[in-house]
């Protein structure tokens, strides 16, 4: 548990670095804001419309699909870490195939999910 203190340490140091960089740039610059410099960039013309319009729903669908397969990965990681130990041990010799088969069933179910997403066309057009 004490192994995780350096994470806090480097978090604090990294936040400090980022803060120093931002503050440095605030005080070391010339401040000459003109109207053109402060406008959003649109290839030199006045911006047409706001940037807060609706975006395509494709991004949301990709995020949902990512979520599902990421949860699958979350289940796969602990299984993978203990897999070799279990399969090569003498104690669980009789459960080798059960251990393997269960996860294969899980992966097949999620693979079917991928095929469904594929056939529904979510991975198409702008993708």
């Amino acid at each position: 548990m004490v192994n995780y203190v350096p994470v806090l340490l480097i978090l604090i140091i990294a936040i400090g670095m980022a803060a120093v960089i931002i503050i440095l740039s605030r005080f070391a610059k010339k401040r000459r804001p003109t109207h053109e410099k402060l406008m959003p960039y649109e290839c030199g013309v006045e911006p047409v419309g706001t940037a807060r319009e609706r975006q395509s729903v494709k991004f949301y669908l990709v995020a949902m699909a990512f979520l599902l397969f990421d949860i699958e990965a979350v289940f796969l990681v602990p299984w993978a870490v203990v897999f070799r130990g279990v399969v090569q041990s003498q104690v669980y010799r009789h459960l080798k195939f059960v251990f393997y088969g269960e996860m294969m069933v899980f992966m097949v179910v999620l693979f079917v999910g991928l095929v469904y997403v594929w056939r529904k066309g979510i991975l198409e057009w702008n993708r």
Binding site: A14, A73, F83, L123
Partner: protein, 344 residues
């Protein structure tokens, strides 16, 4: 306890200093490699006083220039998010380096020092988690700039990153089947022996396929060509960092190169034996040298690919990630686990 804390602080500061210098010189390396591949010379004039020094002071000059540029915050932008986004991109990029082992053990001033800041039992998962947090910086940058190009660039970039994160994570699962641990220090320790050449990729040859998938996914994850449509100069202006100037832009660039260095470091740790190499048992100082050489070779490969291959169109990119890399990494897991089940 204070001894331990002091050791951590010193190691962290040393690693961060080396990293920041490394990032600066990776930018120079990028420009030089780009130049030589394009049959020209690249920056070779910025020296010190009267000495040319082959352009080695270029990153210093660029850094100073960037500090003194005007820091414009557009009026329409969400002020706090606009300032937060580059920090949110940079901080996770810096945090990954504490779990990577750079060497075995050296003895300095009568102390035995292990050359890794901490040996977390979930080191690899920690690195993956930080990569995922890095996506926030990009999407916030795109959103808070209040600029249509930034928003589209940010959304596309983050959609690309999360799609390839799946292939990345699942190929790491393939490696985990062989190593049996998430602790990077233990993964490298298990690759000792045989004159320092018992790397995972020689010991388990199926890992070559996994390495290829991992490397391609990490190139896409760090938004490098051929996957850099969301930030390429001639597409969507400059994508999510259109509205950024001066040091905030520098923070984005630093985060990008840090991500590249992280991806290369994780690749060498998982596949190429980390700090292992010939006669590293007798001369422990060779550990960091071998590690640096391997990371350098992988970074050079990334740059080589960048200046050789044209970039993917966005739909080709997403199709490749979802329809090819993801099924390929799943199939790899199935093959690897079957091999481990039946052989040995």
């Amino acid at each position: 306890m204070t001894n331990l804390l002091l050791e951590w602080v010193i190691k962290t500061i040393v690693i961060l200093l080396i990293l920041v210098t490394a990032v600066a010189y990776v930018t120079l390396m990028e420009r030089k490699v780009m130049a030589w591949i394009q049959m020209r010379v690249g920056p070779n004039r910025v020296g010190l006083g009267k000495f040319r020094l082959w352009g080695l002071m270029q990153p210093l000059a660029d850094g100073l220039k960037m500090i003194f540029k005007e820091d414009i915050i557009p009026l329409q932008a969400n002020q706090w998010l606009y300032v937060l986004a580059p920090a949110l991109s940079l901080i996770p990029a810096l945090m990954t380096f504490i779990v990577i082992p750079y060497g075995s053990q050296i003895t300095l001033f009568n102390h035995t020092i292990e050359l890794h800041v901490t040996s977390m039992n979930v080191g690899l998962l920690y690195v993956l988690a930080l990569t995922s947090v890095g996506v926030y910086g990009i999407v916030l940058a795109g959103w808070s700039s209040n600029n249509k190009y930034s928003l589209m660039g940010g959304l596309r970039s983050s959609a690309q990153m999360i799609s390839y994160e799946l292939a990345l994570g699942l190929s790491i699962v393939s490696v985990l089947l062989y190593t049996g641990t998430l602790d990077l220090v233990e993964i490298v320790d298990a690759q000792r022996g045989f004159h320092g050449l018992a790397w995972n990729i020689f010991h388990y040859p199926l890992l070559i396929l996994v390495f290829i998938i991992f490397y391609i996914a990490s190139l896409a994850e760090t938004n490098r060509t051929p996957f850099d449509l969301p930030e390429a100069d001639s597409e969507l202006v400059a994508g999510y960092h259109t509205e950024y100037s001066s040091m905030k832009f520098v923070m984005f660039q630093m985060a990008e190169y840090l991500n590249l260095i992280t991806a290369s470091s994780i690749s060498t740790t998982l596949f190429f034996g980390g700090w292992n190499g010939p006669s590293v048992g007798r001369l422990p100082y060779l550990g960091p040298v071998y590690f640096t050489i391997k990371v350098f070779v992988l970074i050079f490969m990334a740059m080589w690919i960048r200046y050789t291959v044209p970039r993917f169109r966005y739909d080709q990119l997403m199709r490749f990630g979802w329809k090819f890399l993801l099924p390929a990494s799943i199939v790899n897991i199935i093959i690897s686990s079957t091999v481990i089940l039946f052989m040995r």
